[in-house]
């Protein structure tokens, strides 16, 4: 049979005729089983991971919101060093001397990435001379999170199609989700910060949770040896005052600009972690807009505008007595120490595939690592509630399997919105309960960064851990000279610490030595 005729075509024709119709009938049950298995595999991350991914998104928003909220607290930590004055800026400060009160709008935003949509906390600020300040901000963790979640999911799903297509898909998903979740319950988380810069006291209140935090600003001042918790206007005055003494940072005039239909003159100053821009009315010298950028705290930006001056304000707005029914905690304002840095470094490395971060600052890489594990753990009752709600919706569409088989991962936005509408309130409740704990945990985890950031040039700190594997033997990643000490502390990749004489310090990386891949993060160089 295995002969090949001389004529190739004839041979082929004969083979085909002999073979006959090759079609094989398939057993219907087998086909059904196989199709289910195939589609299940294709949709192997459908409903429950969607819940997880949505939850993660909400957690990210909530943590980002915590960071936005934490800006107030960070301002307390990192009060200004001072500024040199120029005449116009001094005029602004002088004008503020006669200020009785002010109100202004405040918007804090944090971006996960430089080009991503910001998560914003918006609110109102109040100032009452000589030293009282109140800032109320709120973050919406409801609809906004849903819309942003849909946008992010669409981008992820369409990422292989190219950036333009992914962006189009994201916009369409956001639009569709915004329409679908129009009636979804909101979850507004509010924070109120009330401060008295003369009494050196501050309280943070969370009205949703009826919780709050007491901040001992005096302790902070002692720790940092700098005035703590100034109000915005006192900040400006201090910049001028300290600038006049010749010890402060340089304030740079940045020209004129029209703001809200009014001409304004601008000044810029960079202090510690903050890059501040003041825009003032040239006639009254009162600020009309203040922008604070905090690059090292993720991509955090605070904008204050719409200032109204010398308005009547009720002094009770500035009461430092916690409202009745609030459970208050005291913020840990002890100085962060070397041990905190070791702890923070370990957390970051362990959550970043055992590799130390490129820089010791609250950038996206570090923030992501610090946030790992902050997801609220659901109790059984909540899980059951969520499952029941999901089942109910799935049943409307013929059951989970049918939904998976029909749509795979791409559940239409209207069904997604229906699931979210029903499950969000349950998850929001979890978030509400968890939020203060999360914020506390985040502050604890990031104390090591504060330690590093509060080191002064005299401490001669150097970070060389970028890209180094945790537990690499004999690999120095950080050293500094503790205040008052003649010797240095060297931290190694296994997070052990050795005290060494200056002559025994590790060499700084040179292009040809073994540390050439290390990224330096030198406190001396800005």
């Amino acid at each position: 049979m295995r002969d090949q005729p001389n004529n190739n075509d004839d041979w082929l024709d004969r083979l085909i005729r002999e073979a006959g119709d090759p079609t094989v009938s398939l057993d219907a049950q087998y086909v059904e089983r196989l199709k289910t298995a195939i589609l299940r595999r294709a949709a192997s991350v459908p409903n429950s991971p969607r819940k997880v991914s949505l939850m993660k998104r909400i957690v990210r928003v909530a943590v980002a919101a915590s960071i936005v909220f934490a800006v107030g607290a960070v301002v307390a930590w990192l009060t200004f060093g001072g500024s040199s004055a120029n005449i116009a800026f001094a005029d602004v400060a002088k004008a503020l001397d006669s200020l009785r009160s002010a109100t202004f709008d405040v918007v804090s935003e944090v971006r996960e990435k430089k080009d991503s949509q910001p998560i914003t906390a918006a609110g109102k600020g109040y100032f009452l001379a000589p030293c009282h300040q109140r800032i109320e901000t709120s973050v919406n963790l409801g609809r906004e999170a849903a819309v942003k979640g849909a946008e992010a999911a669409a981008k992820r799903i369409h990422k292989n199609d190219g950036p333009a297509s992914a962006n189009r898909a994201a916009q369409a998903a956001a639009k569709s989700m915004a329409k679908a979740v129009g009636s979804m319950p909101e979850m507004i988380v509010r924070q109120i910060m009330i401060a008295d810069s003369q009494a050196e006291k501050c309280i943070l209140l969370y009205p949703n949770m009826k919780t709050g935090m007491l901040v001992d600003s005096k302790k902070m001042r002692e720790l940092r040896n700098k005035p703590a918790q100034p109000d915005l206007f006192e900040m400006v005055r201090r910049l001028v005052r300290e600038g006049n003494s010749g010890t402060g940072e340089k304030t740079v005039a940045i020209g004129k600009k029209e703001i809200d239909g009014r001409k304004a003159v601008g000044f810029r100053v960079c202090v510690d972690l903050m890059d501040m821009t003041f825009w003032a009315d040239p006639k009254t010298a009162y600020p009309v807009r203040i922008e604070v950028g905090m690059g090292s705290l993720g991509n955090v930006r605070v904008v204050m505008n719409n200032f109204q001056y010398n308005v009547a304000l009720d002094p009770s707005l500035f009461s430092l007595t916690p409202p009745a029914g609030y459970s208050m905690q005291t913020m840990d304002v002890t100085a962060p120490v070397e041990k905190d840095l070791l702890k923070t470094l370990r957390i970051i490395a362990e959550h970043s595939k055992n590799v130390f971060p490129a820089k010791l600052e609250m950038n996206q890489e570090v923030m992501k690592a610090l946030m790992v594990g902050l997801e609220p753990k659901m109790d059984k009752a909540t899980e059951q509630k969520l499952e029941a709600v999901r089942k109910e919706i799935e049943a409307k569409y013929g059951g989970r399997e049918k939904l998976r088989a029909k749509y795979g991962k791409n559940i239409p936005p209207e069904i997604m919105a229906e699931v979210m509408k029903a499950t969000m309130p349950i998850m929001q409740e979890q978030m509400k309960k968890r939020m203060p704990t999360m914020q506390n945990e985040m502050l604890k985890r990031s104390r090591g960064l504060l330690f590093y950031q509060t080191l002064k040039p005299d401490n001669d700190a150097h970070y060389l851990g970028g890209g180094v594997q945790l537990d690499t033997p004999d690999r120095p990643i950080f050293w500094y000279k503790p205040t008052g000490s003649q010797k240095y502390h060297v931290i190694y990749a296994d997070l052990s610490v050795k005290e060494v004489a200056p002559s025994d310090l590790p060499k700084m990386p040179q292009p040809k030595d073994g540390l050439k891949s290390a990224k330096t993060n030198d406190k001396k160089s800005p």
């Binding site: 090949q4 083979l15 090759p22 196989l34 595999r41 192997s44 795979g408």
Partner: protein, 203 residues
């Protein structure tokens, strides 16, 4: 080069879009299953198992498919060929040691053969030909079957397919060329066998 349609389809499959997978399952399940069924000598249980493995491997590996390098269908048949070859190699491994890597790379190598020669030698000709016919695209396959199995004239096929006679002739020509490529290795192995048989009988 893949056309726009195919590129779009592959993009949807890569997104693990359930409806896109549903479409390709409906479109190719029968022919892939049939291809495997013939190559495993009509053993339904083995065919079902290998067919399932083929599809699941496709889902797991879809990220590696480059739309510019070819169609999903060809890639899927590549996986099926590798699965069948592995099946034979595993079966033979008790007796001989064979380089599995050779099989692993078969699907990606662009080989036009139905299966590697050593595997083909174990099969009946009709089964190999049936599998090869199923491996060629549907429109080409239909023209071949109508022409040689049903005995239709080119004109009759043209009417049935609502195409011109010239188009059908072109399809037939391409179908035969592809089939010849698929069966070349098989025929080579047969020639070798024939030669070996002749040599040994002379000795």
């Amino acid at each position: 080069m893949a056309d726009d349609e195919s590129t779009k389809q592959i993009a949807s499959l890569k997104r693990l879009d359930g409806s896109a997978w549903s479409v390709v399952v409906d479109r190719h399940l029968g022919e892939v299953y049939g291809f495997i069924f013939h190559l495993v000598g009509g053993d339904r249980a083995i065919a079902e198992e290998l067919n399932q493995e083929t599809w699941l491997e496709a889902i797991d590996g879809i990220g590696r498919l480059d739309a510019a390098q070819g169609s999903f269908r060809n890639w899927l048949f590549g996986i099926a060929r590798r699965r069948v070859a592995l099946h034979y190699r595993r079966r033979a491994s008790a007796r001989t040691s064979t380089p599995g890597d050779q099989i692993e790379t078969l699907a990606e190598s662009g080989s036009k053969a139905v299966l590697p020669e050593d595997v083909l030698e174990q099969m009946e000709r009709a089964a190999v030909v049936r599998a090869a016919i199923l491996a060629i695209p549907e429109d080409r396959r239909k023209t071949l079957l109508w022409k040689y199995v049903e005995g239709l004239s080119t004109e009759a096929i043209a009417v049935r397919m609502e195409k011109s006679v010239k188009a059908v002739e072109s399809l037939l020509s391409r179908a035969r060329e592809q089939l010849r490529d698929l069966l070349r290795a098989y025929m080579t192995s047969c020639d070798d066998e024939r030669r070996t048989t002749k040599d040994s009988s002379r000795a």
